[in-house]
């Protein structure tokens, strides 16, 4: 029943809606930019201070602290997650308590408590061998690292746990059936796969950490915010210096986001050629890629 075929030309809608939104939004943007430019902001203070040594060293301290605190957080987080999922009831309880305690209090408070630990423990001793004054150990750097890292660990442990739970139970069983213990299976089979689910939220939290380091300014750790504050306490140019800080934060965060993209890509190896009919992996993919 083949009829003579009419040669139709297809006409797609011209998308006026889209074009109008575009023009409107661009106008709003220009207006905002102009207001910033004409507002009571002295732009030369921004450009002058962007690359002063004080600000640059603040940026550097911020980056260092972000990475060290995240590293500590990830180590503690994985340990807490594995403890939570072990068969040992005691370890389970400790993990739950740890997460509850450190997720429950603000970072600022934890920083202040670590920094002022000497009020509670004036001296620290190592197996009775060496005894040191707490304030000598608990420098602003160490207090910031502990305050931020230990709290991060509590958050990370939940992320890691979700990642582990997202892995099909069959993976554990397959690993066990070739003779691995539960622990070996966790380390060699489950965790590497869980990484794909874990990395995106960890990426978010690293970005969060960049900004959290700003709190360390209260305990004299001289990161970026503290550096620009030092400048504006002298010249009273608050907004201008905050914009300097904002610019640097944006730069660091943007670079981190790009880094996150590549790390994610690395951890999804083996999922790339997704042609086989494995519904489960497609699904986890989708969750994971929702960065």
């Amino acid at each position: 029943m083949i009829k003579p075929k009419i040669q139709y030309t297809r006409v797609e809608p011209s998308n006026y809606g889209q074009k109008i939104t575009a023009v409107l939004l661009i106008m709003v943007l220009i207006y905002i930019c102009m207001s910033f430019w004409k507002g009571q902001i002295e732009w030369q203070y921004v450009s002058e201070n962007l690359f002063t040594p004080t600000v640059l060293s603040g940026v550097w301290s911020m980056i260092i602290m972000t990475f060290l605190a995240m590293a500590l957080g990830i180590i503690l987080g994985v340990m807490a997650a594995v403890a939570r999922m072990s068969d040992n009831r005691v370890l389970q309880s400790v993990s739950i308590f740890y997460v509850w305690l450190f997720r429950g209090t603000p970072a600022l408070l934890q920083l202040l408590l670590w920094f002022n630990l000497a009020l509670i423990f004036p001296h620290l001793s190592l197996f009775g061998l060496v005894e040191v004054r707490t304030v000598d150990v608990m420098t602003p750097f160490v207090a910031a690292l502990l305050g931020l890292g230990v709290q991060q660990g509590a958050y990370t442990s939940e992320v890691v746990r979700a990642g582990i739970l997202s892995i099909d139970k069959g993976q554990l069983e397959a690993a066990q059936s070739i003779g691995m213990t539960k622990f070996e299976a966790m380390v060699r089979i489950i965790l590497p796969q869980a990484m794909r689910v874990i990395i995106p939220p960890i990426g978010n939290e690293t970005i969060g950490m960049v900004k959290l380091t700003s709190l360390a300014s209260v305990i004299q750790y001289s990161e970026l915010l503290r550096s620009v504050e030092d400048v504006y306490y002298v010249n009273s140019r608050v907004i201008e210096l905050l914009l300097v800080a904002a610019a640097w934060y944006m730069v660091v965060v943007t670079i981190l986001s790009i880094g996150q993209y590549y790390v994610e890509k690395y951890f999804s190896r083996g999922w790339g050629a997704d042609t086989a009919p494995q519904k489960q992996s497609k699904l986890t993919n989708a969750v994971a890629e929702g960065e």
Binding site: E173, A174, G179, Q193, G270, W271, G272, A276
Partner: protein, 253 residues
């Protein structure tokens, strides 16, 4: 022929649910046992008990004469450590319905994982053997592919290869073809047939009646946690002694 696997009146409860009821079975060297039965009858649970993915609540299972999961001491059974149970488990292979390949490792790495990491055998030696096995299952050219780039049938053949590389005393198959597209079932069954012919001891849970008839030495029919009938594959189709078996076989066919 020696007994490779023997289950002696094992029982399994999930809380209130009595899933296996006094199940006893002996599997001799080189035998192929097919287990059939309706959904929920406990077939998977039985295999999982043999491989200690589940712990039985009563009764004992022996592999090569050794009680699994426990050390015998007079009339006492002491629970073994995780490490020892893992070692016992590696002596019986298991092929899963959903393949359960490690998606972050290549086909070859999947196969090497057990022998090299668990059994600590020489990597180069194992690699040679692994490639041999891959050839046997017809996947020589896929050694460096990742599992998710393979079809279901290919994945299942890799899973079989992974198990074979462990040199197990027996292999358990839990519905190895029921997650496959119909066109892909044949290639997996072919590999399993060859394996059976080569003298491997196998327990196969399956709905493929054709395969049972051709390959099985015995067909075990389970229902609500009990072994209801043990038949020769010929009788199963033509002249089953048990009414429910007859019904089941004609429904599945």
């Amino acid at each position: 022929m020696s007994v490779i696997i023997s289950a002696e009146q094992i029982n399994k409860h999930f809380d209130d649910l009595h899933v296996l009821k006094d199940v006893s079975l002996d599997v001799h060297e080189g035998e192929v046992i097919c287990i059939i039965g309706p959904s929920g009858s406990g077939k998977s649970t039985f295999l999982r008990c043999i491989n200690q993915l589940e712990v039985t609540t009563d009764g004992i299972i022996r592999v090569m004469g050794e009680i699994v999961g426990y050390r015998e001491d007079g009339d006492k059974l002491h629970r073994l450590s995780d490490r020892k149970i893992a070692a016992q488990r590696s002596r019986v292979g298991m092929v899963f319905q959903r393949f359960n390949l490690f998606p972050h490792k290549t086909v070859l790495e999947n196969i090497l994982e057990g022998p090299v990491f668990v059994q600590k055998r020489n990597k180069e030696q194992v690699k040679k053997e692994a490639l041999e096995i891959l050839k046997k299952v017809g996947l020589s050219n896929k050694a460096n592919s990742y599992p998710n780039s393979l079809s279901g049938g290919q994945q299942q053949r890799v899973a079989i290869a992974r198990t074979l590389a462990m040199k197990p005393d027996a292999i358990l198959f839990d519905e190895p073809t029921s997650a496959l597209d119909p066109e892909l079932v044949g290639e997996v069954l072919a590999v399993m047939k060859e394996l059976a012919n080569s003298g491997m001891t196998m327990i196969v849970v399956t709905h493929e009646i054709g395969f049972c008839r051709e390959v099985a030495d015995k067909v075990v029919f389970m229902e609500s946690g009990e072994i209801v009938a043990v038949e020769s594959p010929e009788n199963m189709l033509t002249n089953p002694t048990h009414a429910r078996l007859k019904e089941f076989v004609s429904a599945v066919l």
